[in-house]
Amino acid sequence: MKCAKTPLKGWKELPEGGTITEPGSSVLFDASAWRTSMPIIDHAKCTKCGMCWIFCPEAAIKVNPDGSYEVEYMYCKGCGICEKACAVKAIKMEEEKK
């Protein structure tokens, strides 16, 4: 777990009292190391129904302009809810290999 886009700040640089002074900073938070398995979308099977997008508790599924879906792996914690929600079994959780 690390902030991919910003280097970690030291105690002298951090705002006092754990205050976060910039809104929307959670987009910088890389949660990918929480995963032990990752969802893989089989676009040949996908019917673009959007169930994975609705059910993802982390909003880690992105809609592309053509209506297809993809996983934003920086935010995906590998819970597997999308795999369960997919009616056509187009999503498979595969072991995370690092």
Binding site: M1, L8, G10, L14, G17, P23
Partner: protein, 388 residues
């Protein structure tokens, strides 16, 4: 300035009123109750323009104080014993979230058995909460210290606990010199701190600190209390100069030439001094040192005061069951560890659950300290006044 007869609790209530606090959130508990009772009167009759939040517990009182402090308000609460224990988890948040506030803790024993009388167990159990802990030994000192505490808290952005002994100080009437209210307002002008909860800003507070951040955030609070030593010295010196007092981090009697001394905290300092004066008349070079700022601990000042002593008896009015020693003794021993010629230390526990510490008890402790020092062999902790 005018002199009036006030209990320790009322002295604090007057200080809080004069400090023009914005928010008071408190739950009644003996022997603290008369502080917030008096404050509720001040609010109800219009003498103090503050929000008085009635809460259902001390846990909520402290939580409300943290929230109120985050808006930049000047905040006060008071508690004792079980109430302080019930605040426990929120106390750590108050210090690490850097929410300035002042709390009077009227020291009382912890149950069981249920006991409403004085000892220091409540505050000692919160030793590591990151709060500045000040201890007073008279109603006047309670009043003055509460005023200084607001300045200190807002300057360091740390919560400050003012400790006073239950009943012995809280309910005993003493002449107290009150500073004129306008003068107090000039001394601690209402200077709103940053409002971290304003809808005009987009601050997040009380966020998760994962392993990548917790250490740094916690260290900020550790650093803040270390640096608060400077603020304490400066604020105390300013206060002394402005209002003709003579407070110091460490109170000392006879320490210029003392050979044997007792180290105390809180109201027992007075009795220790009376016995030290007697012993001096009998030819024993006795002294008394009392800690006024328990956190941050006045390491350098204390070493200076006790340097050259033959024996130092350390009086704890609390215990650390199963520990190598008791809270105050542990700190003193740590301070003196590096000294080449450190005094012989003798540990005492006395006065638990409001048991009177009589003048005879103090004579016993001076005698035992002298014997330990002369024989260069301290005894294990002595429980003075305990029936076998």
């Amino acid at each position: 300035m005018k002199k009036v007869g006030l209990s320790g609790n009322y002295a604090i209530a007057y200080a809080v009123k004069m400090a023009d606090v914005d928010v008071i959130a408190a739950y009644p508990i003996t022997p603290q109750t008369t502080i917030v009772e008096k404050l509720s009167e001040f609010v109800a009759n219009g003498e103090l323009d503050a929000d008085y939040i009635n809460v259902e517990s001390e846990h909520s009182a402290m939580s409300a104080c943290v929230g109120a402090s985050m808006t930049g308000a000047r905040v006060f609460t008071a508690t004792s014993s079980q109430g302080l224990a019930f605040m426990h988890e929120v106390l750590f948040m108050a210090s690490a979230l850097r929410t300035p506030m002042v709390m009077a803790n009227v020291n009382r024993a912890l149950s069981a058995p249920l006991n409403i009388w004085n000892d220091h167990a409540d505050a000692m159990a919160e030793r590591d909460a990151g709060w500045i802990q000040l201890w007073v030994s008279s109603a006047q000192e309670a009043y003055d210290t509460t005023l200084m505490a607001f300045k200190l808290s807002e300057e360091t952005r740390l919560p400050v606990m003012v400790n006073l002994d239950g009943y012995i100080l809280s309910h005993t009437y003493e002449p107290v010199e009150l500073i004129a209210e306008e003068t107090v307002r000039e001394y601690i002008p209402s200077k709103p701190l940053v409002n971290r909860l304003s809808p005009k800003t987009a601050f997040s507070v009380g966020v998760v600190g994962p392993p990548e951040y917790y250490f740094e955030m916690k260290y900020q609070a550790i650093d803040a209390i270390e640096r608060s030593r400077m603020s304490i010295s400066k604020i105390t010196a300013d206060f002394n100069r402005s209002f003709g007092r003579s407070y110091d981090d460490v109170y000392a009697y006879g320490m210029e030439d003392a050979e044997y001394a007792l180290l105390t905290m809180g109201s027992m300092t007075g009795s220790a001094r009376v016995v030290a004066e007697e012993l001096r008349k009998e030819g024993l070079k006795a002294g008394v040192v009392s800690i006024r700022t328990f956190r941050p601990f006045p390491v350098e000042r204390l070493i200076k005061k006790v340097d050259g002593l033959k024996g130092l008896g350390v009086m704890d009015r609390a215990s650390t069951p199963g520990g190598p020693s008791n809270p105050l003794f542990s700190d003193i021993a740590t301070c003196l560890y590096g000294l080449k010629d450190r005094p012989i230390l003798q540990s005492f526990v006395s006065g638990l659950g409001g048991r009177d510490i009589s003048l005879d008890n103090f004579r016993t402790m001076f005698k035992a300290t002298k014997e330990a020092a002369d024989a260069k062999a301290p005894k294990p902790c002595m429980y003075v006044g305990l029936r076998e």
